[in-house]
């Protein structure tokens, strides 16, 4: 389609740079630099979408990120689809595919528009009052229909193929907003030597200079001056200018989040990140965020062809596109006159300027007169009419009387300007009501920030620029930069932004929209007030005013004014809703940036892990670690593999990678005293070269962690922890050491990753290990169970533990991590000669359960004491203090009937209980049943030839031999309470 509304000679785009894009399947021509909105308008297309509730045809209202209507789906593929994109922000690139939303079968003919017929029923909050009968119909009928009607675009359907970048930045001054005022502030700060970041959401800086034709700065048009200023800034080493970058969140201590759109405007940005998150910590923030024009509230104010004044001027002056050939203006503000004048000069017929105000400034009337434009002061547009596009307006005096009709193809409106205080408000600054100008303005800053220009209520460009320069200088000085020349910025001409109207423009005929996107009308707001919604928060939530994706940028002030009017209260008494981040919607992927896939979280693997991968291990997640769970051979399933591994360990031997166990080196003359406090056991009495199993409690007496502790020297312990518990155990120990026992001379160092640990377990373990060990006599007499030694294994320094978590003769060989795999391979090869296997965590679990050894976190949870777990022997009786000593004495912890760890056997030895299954005494009781415990661990034990289980059972140790019951969905399983040791109860194999 030809660009018949593109005015030759107007605008800043180059006519030689043509592009082609698609809207609803149809190809359109555009120019480089166009947004989808400007390009559609150039082609005479105003109808861009359908509204959410009534499916009313909607056009392009604005030229910025505040656009509530022209939301489109941008989609090149199913994976790269993005819903609800503002056509006013999305730049056109060659081949761009866009679609209108919320319509079927087509935008021009939308069956959903029948909703308009039901409009009288769809009053504010109507859904709270109906759809309750019959009750079952809510789930079956009403809710699905409501949900199907809701929502605008559609979600992407495939994973996002793009990547996103991230940057933390620190600077002296962050300037938000690249309009003339922000540019002046940035220049002043940068000239003084401060490090400056300037961001602006548009593709180019310039702000209001994009549309304003009357501004002249330092001998140039406002726009040209702005581009020169940007060029100057970009040339400086201490400045970073970020365009297409929205400051969306202002957090504590001047931490501001910016989202930069990197590739959405490019036809081919394949290798680039789609967007980049900037997290900026600034010494001072200068907010030059400007103001947002708002609509006037009258009947039909949503028809396509109705457009904000600044938008009409932007399309004309920047994009060279006329909003219409026959336009009218309805305004309550001086700034809309410029739109009428610019359009008239560009050849559009201006039928009339309807000004809500009784008095029009003289120079504006004079200019109108010169251009032959009629002004109706003290008038209002009663209603805009048309079907898919505005066709006429009816105009009457504010106080009523005869209506006159004007045929138009576009209506330019302005209800004045709302200072953009969003970021200021996010910084926790309180806004104050300015009665003179009827608007909320920033009050005193709470953080180190300053508001300048239109967002601070300064309408006059010259004063705004002066404010900007002052703020820039002051920010630089505060950051210790006082030098440099002050920028010479002379504002020689600018326009007036005086006037404005909040609330509805007189008696309403038809639908007058306050929130376009959520289809909230002035009538809805008045109804909410009638129903008792007297706080703006209630009005907002009841009507959904301000809750759409523009987050009330256009609607909040009107909503507030109409509610105040209904209540007869002053506006500030109704309150103001809080501004929340983000300023405009931000892509999840941008916030996530690198944190996806492999970089979503750390994956920790041991140095032996590569061997396990090469040898077909199946892994499980434990904390951040991947651990080999079992090593299937020849198509074995887990049970077959585990049965074989279990049998092999007890018959010959097995190798196990125990490297993930947490390890902490406790060093210092008071190490023993400290260990006594941290563990329930008497650790200071542990001899050098000996190991002891220890239990660590929290102060409340519940088991926190466990592990084997070795005494390397009088002043040095090698402490092991559970794999998942390692970081928190170290933190817990540091906490006590630093804050409760700072007098102790002892230090803690994590050595988890210093050592790779190869466990060799089984009757052949000694034979397998011995040839590689130098410096230790491994005989049971010389090196009995629970001994340790520093020695060499395979020629590298090692800490050798004689210890077992299987009940077999066992060694855990700690070697410096980078030698881990090699030592493993040597021992594995040696083990193979003795029929040994490698085994994983699952076999480890079975073997230890056969011995009744607990796993903290499985057989205990955070409600189990050492006594409950049957480890009362590990609690020193004579110590005066240890962490948990008092908690353990609390009434409930010493009461009868606590759950205690016991063994369970099923009468059918083949029946394996389910872990987590609940235990009852009386299987025939009705639901809810009284549960007396649960199964914590349960396995098929190949070595016992039967199933075994551990369980926590109320009063369990007094129930030995009792029959209890495990009710399952399909049957009830009888179990017998036993001691929790199923294999080698005397422990003879340990000492072999």
């Amino acid at each position: 389609m030809s660009q018949s509304f593109r005015i030759p000679g107007k605008g800043r785009l180059s006519p030689s740079r043509g592009l082609r894009f698609f809207f609803d399947g149809k190809a359109f021509d555009a120019l480089e630099g166009d947004t989808v909105a400007s390009a559609l308008l150039a082609n005479g297309v105003h109808l861009a979408g359908r509204s959410y509730k009534y499916h009313r045809p909607r056009g392009i209202l604005t030229a910025g990120s505040e656009e509530p209507n022209a939301l489109i789906g941008v989609s090149n593929t199913a994976a790269t689809h993005v819903p609800n994109v503002r056509a006013t922000v999305q730049e056109v690139h060659d081949g761009l595919v866009t679609r209108s939303q919320n319509r079927w079968p087509s935008l021009a003919f939308d069956l959903g528009a029948v909703n308009s017929l039901g409009a009288p029923f769809f009053s504010a909050g109507f859904y709270y009052k109906t759809f309750m009968w019959p009750k079952a119909a809510w789930k079956a009928l009403y809710e699905p229909v409501i949900r199907q009607a809701a929502g605008l675009g559609v979600s992407p359907k495939e994973p996002d193929p793009d990547h996103y970048a991230s940057r933390y930045e620190h600077c002296d001054v962050l300037v938000v907003g690249g309009g003339a005022v922000g540019l002046a502030a940035a220049l002043a700060a940068a000239n003084a030597g401060a490090s400056v970041i300037l961001c602006d959401e548009q593709a180019q800086c310039g702000g209001a200079m994009r549309h304003e034709s009357g501004a002249r700065i330092s001998g140039r048009s406002g726009w040209d001056w702005a581009q020169d200023a940007v060029a100057q800034l970009k040339a400086m080493d201490n400045v970073r200018v970020l365009t297409r970058t929205t400051a969306f969140g202002y957090h504590t201590q001047n931490f501001v989040a910016l989202a930069e759109r990197v590739t959405d405007h490019l036809a081919d940005g394949k290798d680039l990140p789609r967007e980049r998150l900037w997290q900026v910590r600034a010494k001072r923030v200068i907010l030059a965020t400007g103001a947002i024009e708002r609509q006037l509230v009258f009947g039909g104010n949503d028809l396509p062809g109705v457009m904000f004044a600044n938008a009409a001027r932007t399309y004309l002056n920047h994009y060279g596109v006329a909003a219409g050939r026959k336009v009218a203006v309805f305004t309550a503000c001086d700034s809309a006159y410029g739109a009428a004048f610019d359009l008239a000069r560009a050849g559009s017929a201006v039928a009339v300027i309807v000004d809500w105000r009784h008095d029009v400034p003289e120079d504006l009337s004079r200019q109108a007169q010169e251009l032959g434009i009629k002004i109706l002061a003290g008038h209002r547009v009663v209603q805009a009419k048309g079907r898919l596009r505005i066709a006429s307006i009816s105009v009457a005096h504010r106080d009523g009387g005869q209506e006159r009709s004007f045929p138009v193809d576009s209506l330019i409106i302005s209800g004045g300007w709302t200072p953009s205080v969003h970021l200021y408000s996010q910084s926790r600054g309180k806004v104050a009501w300015d009665a003179d100008t009827q608007r909320f303005l920033p009050g005193d800053p709470v953080q180190d920030c300053v508001t300048v220009g239109a967002c601070d209520g300064t309408d006059d460009l010259a004063r705004g620029v002066a404010q900007g320069i002052e703020a820039g200088k002051a920010a630089a000085t505060a950051a210790g930069h006082a030098g440099g020349d002050q920028p010479d910025v002379a504002v020689e001409a600018c326009e007036s932004y005086a006037g404005g109207l909040a609330g509805d423009a007189g008696q309403i005929k038809g639908k007058a929209f306050v929130d376009y996107q959520n289809d909230v009308t002035a009538k809805d707001i008045r109804q909410a007030v009638r129903e008792g919604m007297h706080s703006i928060e209630h009005v907002k939530r009841f009507t959904t005013n301000g809750m759409a994706s523009d987050q009330g940028k256009l609607s909040n002030m009107h909503g507030l004014a109409i509610a105040a009017d209904s209540l007869g209260w002053p506006i500030p008494d109704v309150g103001l809703t809080t501004f929340r981040q983000p300023y405009t919607p931000v892509t999840f992927g941008t916030i996530v940036n690198h944190g996806r896939g492999d970089l979503f979280d750390v994956t920790r693997r041991t140095t032996i892990d590569g061997w396990a991968q090469d040898n077909g291990a199946v892994f499980e997640d434990v904390g951040n670690w991947k651990r080999a769970r079992f090593f299937p051979q020849g198509g074995e399933d887990m049970h077959a593999a585990v049965n074989r591994e279990c049998r092999t360990v007890r018959e010959a031997a097995g190798l196990f990678d125990a490297s993930t166990l947490g390890k902490i080196e406790v060093v210092g003359p008071d190490a023993g005293a400290f260990m006594d406090l941290m563990y329930t056991n008497p650790m200071s009495k542990l001899g050098v070269g000996k190991l002891r199993y220890g239990i660590m409690c929290r102060e409340d007496g519940f088991v926190y962690d466990d592990g084997v502790v070795g005494r390397v020297a009088e002043d040095r312990f090698h402490v092991t922890t559970t794999t998942g518990g390692a970081p928190r155990v170290l933190h817990h120990m540091e906490d006590y050491l630093q804050t409760e026992f700072p007098h102790l001379k002892v230090w803690l160092t994590s050595v988890t990753e210093q050592w790779a640990v190869v466990a060799v377990q089984g009757p052949k373990a000694r034979e397998i290990v011995a040839p590689f060990v130098s410096g230790v006599d491994l005989s049971t007499e010389a090196f009995p169970h629970m001994s340790m030694a520093e020695c060499e294994v395979c020629g590298v320094p090692a800490r050798l533990f004689r210890v077992s978590f299987t009940g077999e003769t066992g060694f855990e060989i700690n070697v410096p991590a980078a030698y881990g795999r090699s030592v493993w391979e040597i021992l594995q090869a040696r083990g193979a000669e003795f029929g040994a296997c490698t085994y994983g965590t699952e076999t480890m679990h079975v073997l230890r359960a056969e011995k009744g050894y607990i796993i903290v976190g499985q057989d205990t949870d955070g409600t189990v004491t050492p006594f409950d777990a049957g480890y009362g022997w590990a609690v020193a009786k004579k110590k005066k203090d240890f962490v948990g000593i008092r908690g353990l004495k609390r009434p409930d912890l010493v009461a009868d009937g606590r759950k205690q760890l016991v063994g369970l056997t099923t009468s059918d030895p083949a029946m394996v209980l389910e872990e987590g299954a609940q235990i009852v005494a009386d299987p025939n009781q009705p639901v809810p049943m009284t549960m007396i415990g649960h199964v914590t661990s349960s396995y098929w034990s190949e070595n016992c030839g039967r199933s075994i289980a551990l369980a926590l059972v109320a009063g369990g140790r007094d129930r030995m031999g009792q029959t209890l019951h495990v009710p399952m969905p399909d049957r009830t399983i009888a179990v017998t309470v036993t001691e929790p040791v199923f294999f080698d109860p005397k422990g003879e194999r340990l000492h072999g």
């Binding site: 009053s123 109507f126 859904y127 709270y128 009052k129 109906t130 309750m132 009968w133 009750k135 809510w138 789930k139 809710e143 409501i146 949900r147 809701a150 979600s155 994973p159 793009d162 957090h251 997290q279 008792g532 007297h534 706080s535 209630h538 009841f542 994706s549 983000p582 919607p585 892509t587 916030i591 996530v592 944190g595 996806r596 979503f600 979280d601 994956t603 499980e620 997640d621 794999t723 998942g724 518990g725 796993i855 903290v856 976190g857 499985q858 205990t860 949870d861 409600t863 609390r890 409930d892 389910e914 872990e915 987590g916 299954a917 009852v920 809810p928 049943m929 549960m931 649960h934 009710p967």
Partner: protein, 417 residues
């Protein structure tokens, strides 16, 4: 109270909706009430409603320093479920679920309770053990909860990524089909309207500044920014602000108040059919009836009354969301906000009498109080009216922190090994 119905809407449509009554009044406070409830959130309003409806106590004022429903009630992600492990928890939350089912009809206000199912993802062997323990306990307590394989979880929630190559693969899920969501504002408004219709005074913008006690220590009333209001009994239901209010009665509480954040995406057509939670990767997501993806984040690490929190908390949550639902990476965050949650040492609430005669407290719901709203109000009303707990809340005492008889669901899911 004029009844809401489709007919009422039709009637009002004919007269431009000019005939709707106020849903609640804004009366001047009386000199004294039988019961003063401090906090006009869902729990406080429900307490007043059930006091009036079931205990015949109608001389009640519900006070709020701001607007009714303006605290955590209107700020949460509205997840409703009752598949808790311990008998005490299951009883309390399932009591609530039973009341949710039928609440719209009871209040004559559509609270949009949507039993869409709540699916909790298991990502490792430990999760599976813990979830199965819950499922078995729930079954014996009469609470529905079932184990799903990864494929079944995917079938129930098609956007879910169940690839075994995921950093935290889904190894299964626990599904409570009766779980779901409700419309948070409607809950506060529905209770407010129904309570007001029974004579309860809802007094907004009235901050409590003191609790007055008689010489013998019993409660006499509350000092407020609108003057002294006498009360025979005072129930404090002030969520994150409980500590400062209880301090007015000289009580130090086992509570800490943390910021909790949530966010919604832009609205889209239905794409997410249920509620999914993952405690392992910290993500909570559903889709609202307005089409927004509603996503809950974790708490910040420091106590705060500021109702804001750090961006890194949201990023952490969105990372998990995009990992589990990679199709949502291009969706956009539209709004985020924060609440203040009061957390007890065992993360279970306190619903009890206090050592001060005539003073009752309902607090400590942490991040999950919304789901309990009807049940909490119901048993708390009983506790106040009878001066003794209902059997369902008998265990939720203040004394448990002295005796050690905690109700620690989180500890039961302890992660170690």
């Amino acid at each position: 109270m004029r009844k809401y119905s489709a007919f009422a809407i039709a009637r009002e449509a004919l007269r431009s909706h000019k005939g709707w009554e106020k849903q609640w009044d804004s009366p001047e406070p009386r000199a004294a009430y039988d019961v003063v409830i401090v906090g006009a959130g869902g729990h406080g309003l429900a307490t007043a409603y059930y006091l009036a409806k079931e205990h015949g106590v109608t001389n009640i004022a519900v006070l709020d320093k701001g607007w009714l429903g303006g605290g955590n009630t209107g700020r949460n992600t509205t997840i409703i479920r009752s598949n808790y492990l311990y008998d005490e928890s299951a009883a309390l939350y399932d009591h609530a679920v039973k009341l949710w089912d039928g609440l719209s009809q009871d209040l004559n206000y559509n609270v949009m309770y949507s039993a869409r199912g709540v699916m909790m993802l298991a990502h490792n062997v430990h999760d599976e053990q813990v979830f199965k323990r819950h499922i078995h306990a729930n079954r014996l307590n009469g609470v529905d909860n079932e184990w799903l394989s990864p494929a079944e979880a995917k079938a129930y929630c098609p956007p879910l990524n169940i690839a075994s190559s995921a950093r935290y693969p889904v190894v299964g899920a626990a599904l409570q089909r009766r779980g779901g969501t409700a419309r948070h504002d409607a809950v506060a408004w529905g209770y407010a309207r129904a309570a007001a219709a029974r004579g309860v005074h809802i007094i907004q913008n009235c901050a409590v500044t003191g609790i007055r006690r008689s010489a013998d220590g019993a409660v006499e009333g509350v000092e407020t920014t609108r003057g002294f209001i006498g009360a025979k009994k005072v129930g404090v239901v002030a969520a994150g602000n409980t500590t400062p209010i209880m301090e007015m009665a000289g009580l130090r509480m086992p509570l800490e108040s943390f910021p909790l954040q949530a966010l919604v995406s832009e609205p889209v057509k239905p794409v997410f059919p249920c509620v999914v939670m993952s405690n392992t990767v910290h993500a909570y997501i559903s889709q609202s009836d307005k089409g927004e993806l509603v996503i809950g984040a974790g708490t910040d690490q420091y106590t705060s009354y500021s109702q804001t929190g750090g961006l890194h908390i949201l990023s952490h949550t969105l990372e998990a969301i995009c990992e589990m639902f990679p199709i949502f990476s291009r969706m956009k965050m539209m709004r985020s906000w924060g609440g203040i949650v009061d957390v007890t040492p065992d993360r279970s609430p306190i619903l009890a009498k206090t050592p001060v005669r005539g003073l009752y407290v309902n607090c400590g719901w942490g991040t999950g109080g919304f789901k309990a709203t009807p049940g909490s109000g119901h048993v708390f009303a009983h506790t106040i009216a009878r001066d003794e707990p209902h059997k369902i809340n008998a265990a939720y005492t203040l004394e448990r922190f002295r005796t050690g008889r905690l109700i620690d669901e989180a500890a039961a899911a302890a992660v170690a090994h």
